[in-house]
């Protein structure tokens, strides 16, 4: 029985009805990893002992008739910037190559409380800076739909492991689209939750005002399951809020009547994106046919998403990454003349080119003479973009856009065309800047057979509605098509 192919909800049901054991699930997942990891390169570190021990606990609980939690015995992969105690946490950087996490992040603590099986730590763009996972210090990760293509990024390992059946669900982090873009490229579901609904404690900071940990899975219900487990107030992250009175359970909708859908006129699609245009148009037709009311709307300031995103995220990154100085933890250069020299050599040798570029951009926009023109102005633009969305949400319940303007590109194709890489966040960054939730779901394939994703955005804390609509679509098409050849 190929347990690795089952969804989280299927596995949970099978465990409860004793059709399989948690140990069997672990064995199935690791034998799948053994057979495809060399081709996909999803993982940086595997945590088999940890998963085995947890599986034994789950099996004992089931044998003794104890009620198990919905995520018990479900294999989860964790992006390598989310701390798991006593496990290496590299952020796919030479800087943290040998860093072992001394504590659990809150999301991992919550998953372990639910007896999840943590399978390993997943490859990513270095310090989550990138859109293809090619800036990883360790290796490239491949797209399971086409091994010549990137899986997207920065949570590329989180997407490829789930699409390649090396994990049932996974955690990624999304600062400008890093969960949704790889989910779209790999044909899976990925959620960027409302800012402040999921604790960032134990997530290595990139841009603190934009970062959110997000769940990824092959079905909407699996993503919902993981979101329900990790969300909520955490006293260790003062930006989190108590959302326990906000319902999140999925309602099985019969149609979409009464739901108002906003379609922004700013699509950023050109005639080069015909397959993406066709897919989004057919998705909109589906919504309309199902009873939703379609409205043309405008979000005029979203055209500044990319510059605003790069100014704010790089400014925050330049400050957050100042902690990597070779003193307390991480890489330290071996040959230096004095303290200053040690700092500079450590950082010059320990960070890759993309990270150093972003640190310098952040330093530049915060430097004397430029602070007002760039950083302060980007902060003002953030407020204006938020106002755009608030206005649209007065007349709409959700906003629908393509997740990305293209499908997965070839490895190496854009690594030196950084502006193309940067603008790939054009549809996703606005949700981070304004703090709203957004989910990416598969909506078809292009002429080369690569997955296309559609993004559904909602008001703050409206995750339930996003899940309801996404689940309704998934059911209507009899499940997402995730045919991969490997």
């Amino acid at each position: 029985m190929d347990l690795f192919k089952k969804s989280g909800t299927e596995l949970s049901f099978m465990l409860r009805s004793k059709e399989c054991s948690a140990r069997e699930i672990v064995s199935s997942i690791y034998s799948r990893i053994d057979s495809v990891e060399e081709k996909l390169g999803s993982y940086v570190t595997l945590t088999r002992n940890m998963a085995d021990k947890k599986a034994d606990i789950v099996d004992k609980k089931i044998a003794s008739g104890e009620i198990i939690s919905p995520l018990a015995g479900i294999p989860v992969g964790v992006k390598d910037n989310i701390l798991v105690k006593d496990v290496r946490n590299t952020c796919s950087s030479k800087m943290l190559e040998n860093f072992v996490a001394p504590y659990n992040s809150t999301v991992v603590e919550k998953m372990l409380d639910q007896d999840c099986l943590i399978i390993g730590k997943l490859n990513m763009d270095e310090f989550a800076m990138g859109s293809s996972t090619e800036t990883s210090y360790f290796k490239d990760t491949k797209n399971p739909h086409n091994l010549d293509c990137v899986p997207g990024g920065s949570s590329g390992g989180s997407a490829s492991s789930v699409a390649g059946y090396q994990a049932t669900v996974s955690l990624g982090s999304d600062t400008g689209g890093s969960v949704r873009q790889p989910a779209s490229y790999c044909g899976i579901v990925g959620l960027k939750p409302t800012y402040s609904s999921v604790s960032r404690y134990g997530l290595v900071s990139f841009a603190s005002s934009l970062d959110q940990i997000g769940p990824m899975g092959r079905t909407v219900k699996d993503v919902h399951l993981l979101y329900s487990a990790i969300s909520g107030y955490d006293k260790k992250d003062r930006t989190t809020v108590d959302i326990s009175n906000i319902p999140t359970d999925i309602s099985e909708l019969k149609n979409l009547s009464g739901i108002k859908v906003g379609i922004p006129s700013e699509y950023y699609l050109t005639d080069k994106n015909t397959d993406v245009i066709k897919s989004i148009e057919s998705f909109i037709k589906f919504l309309e046919k199902s009873g939703a009311e379609i409205k043309q709307v405008s979000l005029p300031n979203t055209k500044y998403s990319i510059p605003v995103y790069y100014i704010l995220s790089s400014a925050e990154a330049s400050s957050n990454l100042a902690r990597f100085d070779g003193v307390k933890y991480g890489y330290r250069a071996s040959d230096y003349t004095n303290f200053q020299d040690m700092y500079k050599k450590t950082r010059t040798e320990g960070f890759g080119e993309e990270v150093k570029t972003r640190i310098m951009l952040g330093t530049y926009v915060l430097s004397s003479g430029y602070y007002d023109a760039y950083y302060n102005r980007a902060q003002s633009m953030k407020k204006m973009m938020k106002q755009d969305f608030d206005r649209v949400f007065e007349e709409c319940d959700i906003i629908v856009t393509p997740t990305t303007t293209t499908t997965a590109f070839n490895l190496g194709e854009k690594i030196n065309a950084h502006m193309d890489m940067y603008t790939s966040d054009i549809s996703t960054a606005a949700a981070n800047i304004t703090g709203i939730p957004a989910i990416s779901i598969p909506s078809g394939r292009d002429s080369k057979g690569l997955p296309i994703g559609v993004q559904i955005m909602g008001k703050h804390f409206s995750e339930k509605l996003l899940f309801d609509v996404a689940n309704f679509y998934e059911k209507s098409i009899d499940g997402f098509d995730l045919k991969i050849k490997i």
Partner: protein, 89 residues
């Protein structure tokens, strides 16, 4: 605009010779060109829009990691302290 690699690298605690000079200058200049649209945008209405409220926690001391746990990841340790080179010559 001109990007002063030496100055910005120095402020970033990086050595400019850690880069392919031509490549990084070209890259930084194209990124700056992209963000340069912002200074021209009209933001006069943004002052009336409220931003997010910052909530601070009480300054209460709580148990944290032990000294041993903290030192485990330090590159160089001696006598229970992190060892660094001389700070004042």
């Amino acid at each position: 605009m001109k990007f002063d690699l030496e100055n910005i690298a120095n402020l970033s605690m990086l050595y400019p010779d850690g880069f392919d000079r031509d490549k990084i200058l070209k890259k930084m200049e194209s990124i700056i060109k992209m963000v340069e649209v912002l200074p021209g945008v009209d933001i006069k209405n943004s002052d009336n829009i409220s931003g997010n409220e910052v909530i601070l926690r009480e300054d209460i001391i709580e148990p944290s990691l032990s000294r041993d746990e903290v030192l485990k990841n330090a590159p160089s340790v001696q006598g229970g302290c992190i060892l660094v080179s001389k700070v004042i010559d």
